[in-house]
């Protein structure tokens, strides 16, 4: 185990070091410490209110740390302008805004372009590829307001891809979308794996976490366990994380909660 830890440290691209975070006086994450190696794909699993979304908001800079450190490539959070991309549960945007699918995906390039440069040939090419990869090419010139929920989710995934991030955070990408969008999201994970992108995905689907991910972070305000699914997703540990809300049927864990409630979200007030 020590050797494994050492190996992780050498390769670690994302280090969470004794992190505390929350809203106002309400502490949600307590003393989180774990490291994700280069290109690791992590399923973040835990009950509602465990702090999955909070963890992502902290990682992307939407919520300040109360205590602790986060290092990306050994540098503190914020030192890199555009290496973390974030796909929220459902984009909290004005769906009637006059932007097309292509416009939204192009926004993923803005971080690299800077304020004044216009998108070039290469940017248009990357945007077209990302749109194609998520299967929304036919909708490229449609206003986003005219898309279905699953299609909108794909557009936001395409935008995150266009950011060419080193670390991609996806909050419940498999929840409340159609089967084909789920499939597209899973294929995307495989593609990102090939490209060596580090991915954190929150999900409450324990079976998907066990089957499709090499690492699982079992979270309930604190790290309950972190490591390969076979080590982490044991009945005892799942019970610790989920309390009475989990059933074991023929060895498969079933969680007794379907849809995460709307997370408290103080961010994004327009003024």
């Amino acid at each position: 185990m020590d050797e494994l830890n050492k190996m992780f440290e050498n390769l670690a691209r994302l280090e969470i070091d004794h992190v505390y975070a929350g809203y106002g006086n309400n502490l949600i994450l307590e003393d989180l410490t774990f490291q994700v190696p280069h290109g690791g794909q992590v399923a973040v699993v835990g009950p509602n209110g465990a702090g999955k979304s909070t963890l992502f908001k902290v990682l992307v800079g939407l919520l300040p740390l109360k205590k602790g450190n986060i290092f990306i490539h050994g540098l503190p959070l914020g030192a890199h302008q555009d290496c973390v991309a974030y796909v929220p549960q459902r984009g909290d945007v004005d769906w009637k805004f006059p932007v097309t699918v292509r416009d939204v995906v192009m926004m993923g390039r803005y971080g690299r372009l800077g304020w004044l440069t216009r998108p070039g040939e290469k940017d248009h090419q990357i945007v077209a590829e990302c749109i194609h990869q998520l299967g929304v090419s036919k909708l490229a010139n449609q206003p986003i307001g005219e898309l279905s929920g699953g299609q909108q989710q794909r557009v936001f995934l395409a935008r995150a891809l266009a950011q060419q991030p080193h670390i991609l955070l996806m909050d419940e990408p498999f929840t409340g979308v159609d089967i084909s969008t789920q499939e597209v999201a899973l294929n995307l994970l495989e593609e990102l794996h090939k490209q060596g992108v580090t991915v954190l995905v929150s999900t409450h689907d324990l079976n998907m976490a066990a089957e499709r991910f090499e690492l699982v972070l079992l979270l309930n305000r604190k790290v309950i366990a972190f490591g390969p699914p076979t080590e982490v997703l044991t009945p005892e540990r799942i019970k610790i994380a989920f309390g009475g809300k989990v059933l074991f049927i023929h060895g498969a864990a079933v969680v007794d909660e379907c849809c995460p409630p709307e997370e408290q979200d103080n961010f994004g007030a327009r003024s």
């Binding site: 914020g78 302008q81 973390v84 974030y86 805004f97 939204v104 304020w115 961010f267």
Partner: protein, 285 residues
């Protein structure tokens, strides 16, 4: 016909008025796109009313009325932003408190002045034919600043307006950009006061962009069409004002409103009639 259009322009005051009207039409319509998309119409109206104390103080100190208006507009706009950010007052409440306070202060100051009637009525209702060449140069200068900023900062302003979460992950200075937009709005409102006056500024900020929104599907074309509608309304309104002796601001706003009604009814895809036709086609299968 051509004579009908050209003869008013033989007067120098009419030439200056036309130039100012066109600039105001462009500026309000472009900045107004953000006002419409970010639901800032109440804010725009409030800032327009809140300039009154600035004008009154400038008048009392024998200073430049436009500069007084500009300072008041910026102060009130930033004040509203500051109050809202403290988190215990909602934005529309903050607007309601600050703008009525500023308006009351303006009325209080003006009531102490005996001979205010002529000059200040221009601020209230606009007086496009009284635009001096100094006013026109100021208008040109501020227009260049505002339009230049909107063009140069198109991308960051688009992101903070459409998706504040992405803006934060890209580490854009959101507060700074919001304040900048506020200042651009203040500039625009003060320029627009010359042509349409306090009461009708909000119409110029809202009506042409709302019309353009019905006709376009992307941000840049929306701004372009909005500007065309703003220019058209200003020019037509000014001619109506000249020949039928109507107050210029009212004529301009009514022209813009007429165009909005046309778009609301007939816009392809988004207009009421086109949507009705679409529904009945769907029903008939």
């Amino acid at each position: 016909m051509i004579d009908l259009l050209l003869s008013p322009l033989s007067y120098a005051f009419m030439q200056r008025g036309m130039a100012a009207a066109i600039l105001v039409g462009i500026l309000c319509s472009v900045v107004g796109c953000y006002v419409v998309l970010r639901s800032m119409a109440f804010l725009g109206d409030a800032v327009a009313h809140a300039i009154l104390p600035g004008v009154a103080i400038a008048y009392l100190l024998d200073g430049n009325l436009t500069v007084g208006a500009l300072l008041a507009a910026i102060l009130v706009g930033l004040g509203i932003g500051f109050l809202t950010r403290q988190g215990n007052v909602k934005e529309d409440t903050a607007i309601g408190i600050l703008f009525t306070a500023a308006l009351a202060l303006g009325v209080a100051l003006i009531s102490t002045i005996r001979t205010y009637a002529v000059d200040l009525s221009h601020i209230l209702f606009g007086n496009i034919l009284g635009v001096s060449s100094g006013d026109l140069w100021l208008t040109i200068g501020l227009s260049v600043i505002v339009l230049g900023s909107v063009i140069l900062l198109f991308k960051p302003l688009l992101i903070i307006s459409f998706d504040p979460v992405l803006a934060a992950t890209l580490r854009l200075p959101i507060g700074l950009l919001n304040n900048l937009l506020m200042i651009l709005l203040a500039f625009t409102i003060v320029i627009a006061l010359q042509t349409v006056g306090i009461g009708l500024v909000a119409a110029m900020l809202v009506t042409p962009p709302a019309t353009a929104y019905l006709l376009t599907r992307r941000m840049a074309p929306m701004m372009f069409f909005s500007a065309l509608i703003g220019i058209f309304s200003s020019v037509v309104g000014l001619y109506l004002s000249f020949y039928y002796n109507i107050a210029s601001g009212a004529a301009i706003v009514l022209t813009a409103t007429f165009l909005f009604v046309l778009a609301f009814l007939f816009a392809p895809g988004r207009g009421v009639i086109s949507q009705k036709a679409h529904k009945s086609r769907v029903l008939r299968g």
